[in-house]
């Protein structure tokens, strides 16, 4: 019986907590669209309900094909207006955001502070690699973590992803970041965390049996703490480096894949 009693939502429903610097831009666009769309929907429903109430069987139908120039012009104008008011902001803002924020990799690449991470996705885990002090990937001082990504706060974090088997999708809802990891190509995504804490990294693309638990933890540390962590981890891996462990030697030259 208790099983059948549906518990009410614990924290309410809504966008997950936004911990990134730019996530609010997506949220704002979603919410703005909701207002317009909601309004349209209400008008539409009200119209139909009113028509049913007022123009029922007792009302005499008007013989009207709606083909007068005026009638057609009104229709076209309303459709045009809806397009400009509802679709317009979506389109323009998407362009702007692609250019200035989510697609602006050039700025992030140019920022000396930004942290670069390479991710290999495979069934069913995320393996992350940091270049270490030498700034080069696939060298002994690289930090390699398993299902555990540690990043500093207030710093752009730039990812390059590959997959070794099937398509996965690197998804951090709290950072409003998502990109597919596709075998045979390198994809990129970046975000900047504005607060510390632990967040879920999920896989958004169906990738088989354990897709539902292909998750990793994103830990955001204050920058100094992160630097300490990185130095320590790098020293550890340099110490444990095993040149014969071919499995561990993945990673690629970062600059090769810098696309505009």
């Amino acid at each position: 019986m208790t099983l059948l009693l549906a518990p009410l939502p614990e924290k309410g429903i809504g966008l997950p907590h936004d911990a990134s610097l730019h996530g609010w831009r997506i949220d704002a666009l979603i919410n703005e669209t909701s207002v317009y769309v909601g309004l349209l929907f209400v008008i539409m429903v009200a119209w139909v309900v009113l028509a049913c109430l007022r123009h029922g069987p007792r009302h005499e139908a008007r013989f009207d094909h709606g083909t007068s120039t005026r009638s057609i012009a009104v229709g076209l104008c309303i459709a045009g207006a809806i397009f400009f008011v509802v679709d317009g902001p979506l389109f323009v803002n998407s362009l702007i955001l692609a250019r200035d924020v989510f697609g602006n990799f050039a700025k992030v690449e140019a920022d000396p502070k930004s942290v670069r991470i390479e991710i290999t996705a495979h069934q069913w885990a995320w393996v992350a690699r940091y270049a270490g002090p030498d700034g080069k990937f696939n060298t002994p001082d690289d930090i390699v973590t398993f299902n555990d990504v540690v990043v500093p706060e207030g710093t752009p974090i730039l990812f390059q992803l590959v997959s070794t088997d099937v398509i996965h999708s690197f998804n951090i809802p709290n950072m409003r970041a998502k990109i597919d990891a596709v075998p045979g190509m390198v994809n990129r995504v970046w975000f900047e965390a504005k607060e510390t804490g632990e967040f879920d990294i999920a896989c958004a693309q169906h990738c088989g049996l354990n897709h539902y638990k292909m998750k990793a933890t994103l830990t955001v540390l204050p920058r100094p703490d992160w630097e300490k962590w990185a130095a320590e981890a790098s020293a550890n891996s340099a110490r444990d480096y095993d040149p014969d462990d071919r499995e561990a030697h993945w990673g690629w030259d970062w600059s090769e894949h810098a696309r505009i």
Partner: protein
């Protein structure tokens, strides 16, 4: 009248075939040119397009009853072109690492 139309149609298909054959021979010839890979490919693609158009006109002349049918053929013809462009653009963008 019927007979005349038939003869002219036969002539047309014969000509189409000859044109296609000539183009093919030209293509084989072009493909044998050594070096200049890019130019050769461009020439071949150009020839292929001409060939395609010849084909279409040939098919188009067969029996088009109405304007609707003609539109039905012409509009979709634009799609493969668009898709080809999209796919090749995307293919180049996704070059292997």
């Amino acid at each position: 009248m019927e007979e005349a139309a038939r003869v002219s149609q036969r002539k047309r298909s014969a000509i189409t075939f000859l044109v296609l054959l000539a183009l093919t021979i030209l293509e084989v010839a072009v493909s044998q040119i050594a070096g200049h890979h890019r130019a050769v490919v461009t020439a071949l693609v150009g020839l292929a397009i001409v060939q395609g158009i010849v084909q279409i006109i040939y098919f188009m002349h067969l029996r088009w009853e109405s304007r609707a049918l003609r539109l039905y053929v012409l509009v979709p013809l634009a799609f493969p072109v668009i898709y080809a462009l999209v796919l090749i653009a995307d293919g180049i963008w996704r070059r292997l690492p």
